[in-house]
């Protein structure tokens, strides 16, 4: 227990970085996932094929491999930029990799949401003279987001836990802090694992609570 108290600052720093990863990667995933799902349900066959290919490639590749790939690819392409010593090259690379990975799952969660919207909603939108883009943005996606809240919450919970993979390319997030403490405190390992488990549980709980709130909000509107 003492090890957790003595190193609270270190643990907190680790989880703060984990949360930043989650936030930035989560935003990338949401934007990219939404664009992907528009491709996936597009009336144009080529666009559908592009969307489907992305999902198939990314979803069937282990996350660690994607993170390593980006970590190896960017320097070769000459890209090793940092925004600051905190938002450094490793952090940016890991965020992009995590975001692109999670986008595939966000896309599929949204697609499940879209599929749960009766086809009549789209027909009504089109019959009012809306273009594909208008009908997606004003009629289909807002409803699909609601229907997709539970699977999206699962995706984001998985993303929160997956941020620990960023350690592989040098991001000093929570898992890094855990490894550091593990090496220094041979006697306190059970407490260290317990403490970090609690940290992740709190994050997951916050995501679940947020999703629950959104669902209730959406429920009121029906």
């Amino acid at each position: 227990m003492q090890v957790l108290i003595d190193n609270f600052g270190l643990i907190l720093d680790g989880f703060v970085k984990t949360l930043w990863l989650l936030l930035f990667a989560g935003l990338i995933a949401l934007v990219l996932g939404t664009l992907l799902v528009a491709l996936r349900v597009s009336p144009v066959a080529v666009m559908r094929a592009v969307g489907t290919s992305y999902i198939n490639v990314v979803r069937n590749t282990p996350l660690l491999l994607i993170v390593y790939l980006f970590g190896a690819l960017f320097p070769v392409l000459g890209y090793t930029a940092s925004i600051s010593s905190y938002i450094d090259y490793s952090f940016i690379t890991a965020t992009i990799a995590l975001g692109m990975y999670a986008a595939a799952f966000v896309c599929e969660a949204l697609r499940a949401g879209i599929n749960s919207i009766p086809v009549g909603q789209a027909e009504a939108a089109r019959s009012l003279g809306m273009t594909f883009g208008q009908s997606m943005s004003t009629v289909i996606l807002p409803q699909a987001f609601r229907a997709a809240i539970p699977p999206l919450a699962s995706t984001y919970i998985a993303l929160a836990k997956n941020t620990s993979v960023a350690l592989a390319i040098g991001v000093t997030e929570a898992a890094f802090a855990m490894k550091k403490l593990n090496n220094e405190y041979a006697t306190g390992r059970s407490w260290i694992f317990f403490g970090f488990a609690v940290g992740y549980i709190l994050i997951v709980w916050a995501i679940a609570a947020f999703a629950h709130g959104l669902e209730r909000q959406a429920g009121k509107a029906r």
Binding site: G170, F176, N183
Partner: protein, 296 residues
Amino acid sequence: MRFLRTQALATGAVLALVLSACGDDTAKEDAGPSVEVKDDTQFPEGSTMAKLADAGKVTIGVKVDQPGLGFLEPGAEAPEGFDIEMARIVAGALGIEDDGSIEWKETISDNREPFLEGGKVDLVFASYSITDERRQVVGQAGPYYVTGQQLLVREEDKEKITGPDDLKGVKVCSVEGSTSLATVQDEYGASPSPRGTYSECVEELKQKTVDVVTTDGSILLGYAAEAPDELEVVGKPFSEERYGVGYELGDTELCQFISDTLKASMEDGTWAEAFEATLGKSGVETPEPPALDECL
């Protein structure tokens, strides 16, 4: 600096010789000095030594990613390095030969204590620094080697970064959860950049995504020797790492036996032979053997 540079060149030459010798079947015999295997062992009844000697088998936890200490070549059957040689000496004293009777088990920094506590390994020779904290959960006999943390930088940075005091805010790579990384982070304000292995760190150093690689000097010299025009080891060692032999907590008899065996090897020259055949190849002079701790 000049001294280290010369060393690095010498290491390169030695490595080239070693590599050229590696193609044929005799290479394995060249890898290490012959270890005396006793066939008339006498141990107190019920002791761990007696149990291991009777079984004729011992399981030893080692690292497989540290050149010169414990390193498994891709495709090779057994690991090589100074840790491995010391382990073979101790096993030999138990009457166990490295002919398949020693089971080499990979341990990483995270699982050395759990493996010893759970009896998954009998001994640990895995660049296992002796600390008071660790001695509360496992036994650590030795030290059989004392080394120190140093810095590996790119050639063009060798004037800029000359020691740990230049590390403030600098991206320093080492293996995640290692003591070396914690030291530069906690004591010198470096910005830690953890990776899974030292080779990854060296790769990142060359790609300029990190600026320094740090760990025990002996390992760094090996990497500097592979790229003498690009990389350079700088500064004096700024920490003391005392490598010990891990065993199950409280087995004082076993500790005494390991200490006696280590001491004998240091006195009769097998320790020095082991060093020359492994870490010594990177050009480091063979040091004086360290003084051993008392078994308590």
